[in-house]
């Protein structure tokens, strides 16, 4: 995989040396290049956290907003200008914790965006607290007797809410990750990729675990029932691949409005004609 692409920039990274975030960045940059996209066509959106810094290190448009709020911003951008390829890069704390409500409703809403969650089951930037995907019983900074909450199962949640494209990847399998990202970007509708990523500073999940335990899934990703079984099966929690890809994509958010008014972008509409405003108000 190329270390220099047209999506590379010179912004110095704030990530820990050797962090697999660098690998996710590389897979994304290469994927975008292989899709023959230009930086001008791409808009990255993020919230706060280590994963959310990624947009700074990739040449493209970007909006690095508030903690947890990447999804509504990304949805607004896509609705305004559907020609942009809108990609959210976020972490488990940002997306499943602070932004949990937006995650849930974005699954229902189906905007045509790509959602990449760097899932390391930990709050790394705030120094080692549990995240919504931290396994029960694990001792973390604020859980001296172990985490008491059940971990979130975001993949199963996405499936039962009708998400058209649901995948699990590993930051350590970057060829595979790159290919899945490409398919996700091309998917019409919400495409969601949970990326298992070891945190090398907090050692959860450890590099060794990920290297040893992950395997590639071989089921038919068009089979919804099989997909749900995999998402719910603890024995397959290290299974990588496209878990579900709906071959009959649903209408995307805003499609009805755009078709009704034969629009390409909301950005080029003129202001309301004065006489229409006058007539509407006087008729009221």
């Amino acid at each position: 995989m190329k270390s220099k692409t047209k999506f590379s920039n010179n912004v110095p990274s704030q990530w820990c040396p050797g962090c697999p975030n660098h690998l996710i960045l590389k897979a994304l940059q290469n994927g975008l290049e292989e899709l023959e996209l230009t930086p001008q066509e791409v808009c990255l959106v993020s919230g706060i956290g280590q994963a959310a810094k990624l947009p700074h290190y990739l040449k493209g448009n970007f909006f690095n907003g508030l903690h947890g709020r990447a999804l509504p911003v990304a949805t607004g951008i896509k609705l305004a200008n559907p020609k942009l390829k809108v990609i959210v890069t976020t972490g488990d704390g940002d997306c499943y914790g602070e932004g949990g409500n937006h995650f849930l409703h974005t699954l229902r809403r189906n905007p045509d965006i790509t959602l990449l969650v760097h899932n390391n089951s930990i709050y790394a930037l705030t120094k080692g607290q549990a995240s919504p995907t931290t396994p029960k019983g694990e001792k973390r900074a604020l859980n001296p007797r172990g985490v008491e909450d059940e971990p979130l199962n975001p993949l199963a949640l996405a499936l039962i809410q009708g998400t058209g494209f649901v995948a699990r990847c590993s930051a350590l399998e970057i060829e595979h990750l790159k290919e899945v990202i490409k398919e996700a970007i091309n998917y019409p509708g919400l495409a969601y990729v949970d990326i298992l990523q070891p945190c090398i500073s907090w050692l959860k999940p450890s590099l060794e675990t990920l290297k040893k335990e992950t395997f590639f899934l071989s089921h038919d990703p068009q089979d919804f029932e099989q997909a749900l079984k995999i998402a719910l099966d603890p024995a397959q929690k290290w299974g990588l691949g496209i878990i579900y890809k709906n071959p009959w994509p649903k209408p995307v958010l805003g499609e009805g409005f755009y078709q009704h008014f034969s629009l390409e972008q909301l950005t080029h509409l003129p202001p309301l004609d004065l006489t229409i405003a006058q007539n509407l108000l006087k008729a009221h």
Partner: protein
């Protein structure tokens, strides 16, 4: 008689709104000006609601404390609201009352008896109102036919029959009420929200996201219902945080965008208002106030969020806060709010309230061209290298949008460099970037209109007010002048940044506010180094009337 006031009282679900709006149509056809306001409980059925109409020859857009006619749809509502009737007033309702000239009449019983269904009580009440005021029955029948055009023939006929029946009852009653002379114009009526919506669309807004919250919901509802004409994409968000972030995303991508909410929802948006300030992403936020704290009184009115709006957001950044006084100003100031938000790239807040949102105001016409849409997008070909947050003397960096040219556009909630990338360079980058944003205030402040001044030259007392209390304050001032009191008015519609203004030195200044803690007085004391000590305050959830302002003015006069 210069005006006639009518109160319709009943319960939620009894159709007071329909009676009020259909009767308004009939009055408009007779060239009357009309002001109506309502107060209601936060429930879908039952409880107590009232709908107040003031009929006059010329627009007089403010509420009165008491009515000439009280029409009650049920006995409980009659008991609760009888105090609203003037001693000389006329009471129509299902119960005896010997204190007033009255007619015992149950529209529901009559509807059941004559038309087989108490639902037609409203049609009978409408007929009665039309009859007692000697208005033309045909105009009511036309309005009913139009309203029920899509319903079955039986429903239409029963409504028409009900109207005729009520009209006959009024004529038979030999009761008499005199209307003021009709006006010269066919006035039109509007509540606040349609005027705001049209101002937004006129300003080029094509995106609105909101979460339903009374009394703001009418705004997105109007935009959704008029989508065909206005082409505003409306989205119901999962919460207010999502709503403002959706609007910010759309605005960043190049569409003029807005959101609307009330106090609690606005509280949720505050972090993102700071985000708009930091990323210099323009957005317009309509804050329709209701009494707080917390859930407060969801369906009532207040001006209690003035200081909250002005100081909303962590950190230091410029914003615009307007408080339009009436629907015409809502239209004009909304256009101006968009213009300023997009020129200076910051959040603009429009304060309204339940009273302004729900009341019907009469107009002969608006000053339609008082504000015109202006656009400030930079020309991409001017830049060899584009920097979204380029340092400039005015603090305004040329604004491009992603995907619209060869230039890349980045925005960041972290403190950032000129390209929008995270910085930790404190003195070289972070400090000048904060100053760049605050620098915008210098030019911005010059665009803020000074307050309206009425009769201040010889005034011994001056009322200072803002937003929706304007017409009541002006009516009180006019009345006090007729009694020989030298009273003037200074009224603010644009509140932040505070405009350059010198207050008169020799008059006693009294703020008039729909809140409990004299927030306007506090703001003016801070901004203009004043020492305002007198305020007329009302905070029971209802709008101020000229009568109350007059009484409280007398109290202040007696104290000093």
């Amino acid at each position: 008689m210069k005006e006639l006031t009518i109160s319709l009282v009943g319960s939620a679900g009894e159709g007071l709104d329909s009676i009020g709006s259909l009767f308004s149509t009939v009055l408009a056809e007779h060239k009357y000006a009309l002001f109506s306001w309502k107060e209601y409980e936060s429930r879908v059925r039952g409880g107590f609601n009232s709908y107040h109409l003031k009929i006059s020859s010329q627009p007089q857009n403010y509420p009165r404390e008491q009515s000439d006619l009280l029409l009650a749809l049920n006995p409980e509502a009659q008991d609760k609201y009888t105090s609203l009737l003037k001693p000389s007033g006329l009471l129509i309702g299902p119960k005896e009352n010997s204190r007033f000239q009255s007619l015992v009449l149950s529209f529901k019983d009559l509807a059941k008896k004559e038309l087989g269904n108490s639902l037609y009580a409203n049609a009978i009440a409408l007929g009665f109102l039309t009859g007692i005021l000697k208005l033309k029955l045909e105009l009511l029948l036309e309005a009913l036919q139009k309203k029920f055009a899509t319903k079955s023939l039986a429903i239409i006929n029963n409504n028409l029959e009900g109207a005729r029946l009520g009209y006959g009852q009024a004529l038979d009653s030999s009761l008499n009420l005199t209307l003021p002379p009709s006006g010269e114009h066919n006035y039109f009526f509007t509540t606040g929200h349609p005027a705001t919506a049209l101002g937004a669309a006129r300003a080029g807004c094509h995106f609105m996201a909101a979460y339903p919250m009374t009394p703001s919901t009418g705004l997105i509802t109007y935009l959704s219902q008029k989508q065909e004409e206005l082409k505003v994409f409306t989205l119901q968000a999962e919460d207010e945080i999502a709503a403002i972030n959706l609007a910010l995303g759309a605005s960043f991508a190049g569409v003029r965008s807005m959101t609307a909410t009330s106090g609690g929802g606005f509280a949720l948006m505050v972090e993102s208002i700071s985000l708009a300030g930091m990323t210099e992403t323009p957005v317009v936020i309509v804050l329709a106030q209701r009494p707080g704290p917390a859930t407060g009184l969801p369906t009532r009115t207040a001006q209690g969020d003035l200081l909250f709006a002005i100081f909303a957001g962590h950190g230091e950044f410029p914003k615009v806060v307007f408080a339009p006084s009436d629907p015409e100003e809502l239209y004009l100031k909304t256009i101006k709010a968009f213009n300023l938000a997009y020129k200076y790239q910051l959040p603009a807040i429009i304060l309204t309230d339940q009273f302004l949102a729900d009341s019907n105001f009469s107009y002969w016409d608006f000053n339609w061209e008082g504000e015109t849409p202006q656009f400030f997008r930079a020309n991409p070909s001017e830049f060899k290298e584009y920097k979204r947050y380029q340092f400039t003397p005015s603090g305004i960096s040329p604004r491009l949008c992603p995907g619209q040219s060869v230039h890349l556009v980045g925005a960041d909630s972290d403190e950032h460099d000129e390209w929008g990338h995270i910085t930790e360079e404190l003195d070289k980058v972070a400090k000048p970037m904060l100053e760049k944003r605050l620098n915008k205030l210098k030019e911005l402040q010059k665009e803020i209109a000074p307050p309206l001044e009425v009769d201040i030259a010889d005034s011994k007392y001056i009322f200072i007010s803002f937003g929706s209390t304007k017409e009541s304050v002006l009516a009180a001032q006019k009345h006090l002048r007729t009694k020989g009191e030298k009273v003037g008015v200074i009224h603010f519609s644009e509140l932040w940044p505070l405009p350059s203004y010198s207050f008169p030195q020799n008059a006693l200044l009294i703020t008039v506010e729909n809140n409990a803690t004299a927030q306007l007085a506090k703001l003016l004391n801070l901004g203009y180094s004043l020492n305002l000590k007198h305020s007329i305050l009302k905070y029971n959830g209802l709008p101020l009337t000229p009568e109350e302002i007059g009484r409280k003015f007398d109290e202040i006069q007696n104290q000093i």
